[in-house]
Symmetry: C7
């Protein structure tokens, strides 16, 4: 199990999926964004006793800036660890 | 449906539209700006319990800095997700 | 009508005008500045409940850093949208 | 013994280990992350009397951004000294 | 008349003058500084109700970082508008 | 005698020493760190009446980021002046 | 007379002097530092009513980062104006 630190979030990449449940077709060119599902969320960053709230939760479908974050592999699945600031939107 | 995070705003791009309802003709060269309509607005960024106010609302016609933001496609329409700071003005 | 956001200001460019009412001749080489009239002013940026004051008002003649801002066209006139920080001086 | 300063953490690199106890197989290409064990933790950075909490402890297995930090060698083992901000996640 | 904004200051450049009233000979190679007289001073920048004090006044002879600021011309004289931070010293 | 300012620390470089008293062998490739002894410590930087504490003292053996700081020579010995932030760890 | 502004300090460069009164021989390769004497000190920068203290005084012998600051010439002597942050140490 992967427990992200700070504002980091773990995303599970979708394989070649170009259409979401709500019918969003992700643009092909330029493909600046990617589509994934949140599988783990950090505890935020605490500054002066205040903790930043991370606005995504496990199972949210999200769009994130492609090429951001760090890739890891677990049992054949691709995961991305990135800062929540690099998540653009929740897709519902 | 796309729910932008933080200060992000979702804009619907206008297809080859060069004139606004109020007769603004967008410059062709250099084309540094683009014309779009706001379709979704984030909740702002909360710092020390204060939340930045995003000064645009759904259906506002806006000028934004071209080449900023991230493009996505939904049912054949082009959308842009960008930070509200990259919106220059509301066109009325 | 164009309503600038944040610290942005809309300027109306002067066509080939090289002399101001007070006899200022703008330098030709290097032409690092440009001469314009303020036509719209944003509401400033609000930080911690304090709003930055924008020190120009509509009809002020100003010098601004050339190549800054974004050009738009309205009914044949050239306008610039830029941050008020890029305005150098008021010419009276 | 190595006592890291500020937010620095000392990690002991794993030799050619590609699988963790929980079955995580680290991606081979691109290998942007590395796997290590925390062996020493700094005292954090004190700002205005508040000290940043370092969210890892000795013996935590962690993923960190590869190419970050500084390598040292102790009795044949490889160690990395890096800022805790460069640690992405704890692997359990 | 030119009224500088924020921390900007208007300087009147001296023509080919290489010696000041107090006998300072400005270095020729590398000529990283320039010599001028203050002709107008901005109102400073107000942050949280506090205004930065601009430490030069009209008629001060100053050394400033060459290549900084923006040149304008008025009745054949060369002027520079620059931030007071780019003024290095007052020459008395 | 050299009295460092602000957060600067003066280190005395060890000549070709690759093993510390506690048996640490410094890595040869890539040699991103260097080994030295603290000989002088600045008074820290005072911000708003608070002074940053410099976490090393004279005679501490330290690892610092190679290529950081400025080299000086005193009676044939090499010294480095660098900011304490560039010191990675104390070696005991 | 040259009166430096803000945190600036005026240094008088020593001509080809490679040894200080206390026997410091400045390294020749790489020569990243230079040796000079303080001849004038600015009033510091005032932030929120607090003024940064400049930790050097007239006649201090100092080491500063070479290539920093701006050179001027007065009656055949070379002077440097630089920010006190670029002074590394006082040599006694």
């Amino acid at each position: 199990m992967i427990k992200p630190l700070f504002n980091n979030v773990v995303l599970k990449k979708q394989k070649e999926q170009n259409e979401t449940s709500s019918g969003i077709i992700l643009s092909q060119k330029p493909k600046d964004e990617a589509y994934a599902v949140v599988v783990a969320v950090g505890d935020g960053v605490s500054v002066d006793g205040k903790t930043t709230v991370i606005p995504v939760k496990v199972n949210d479908k999200v769009l994130y800036k492609k090429y951001s974050g760090t890739e890891i592999k677990q049992e054949g699945e691709d995961y991305i660890i990135l800062s929540c600031e690099e998540i653009l939107a929740i897709v519902e």
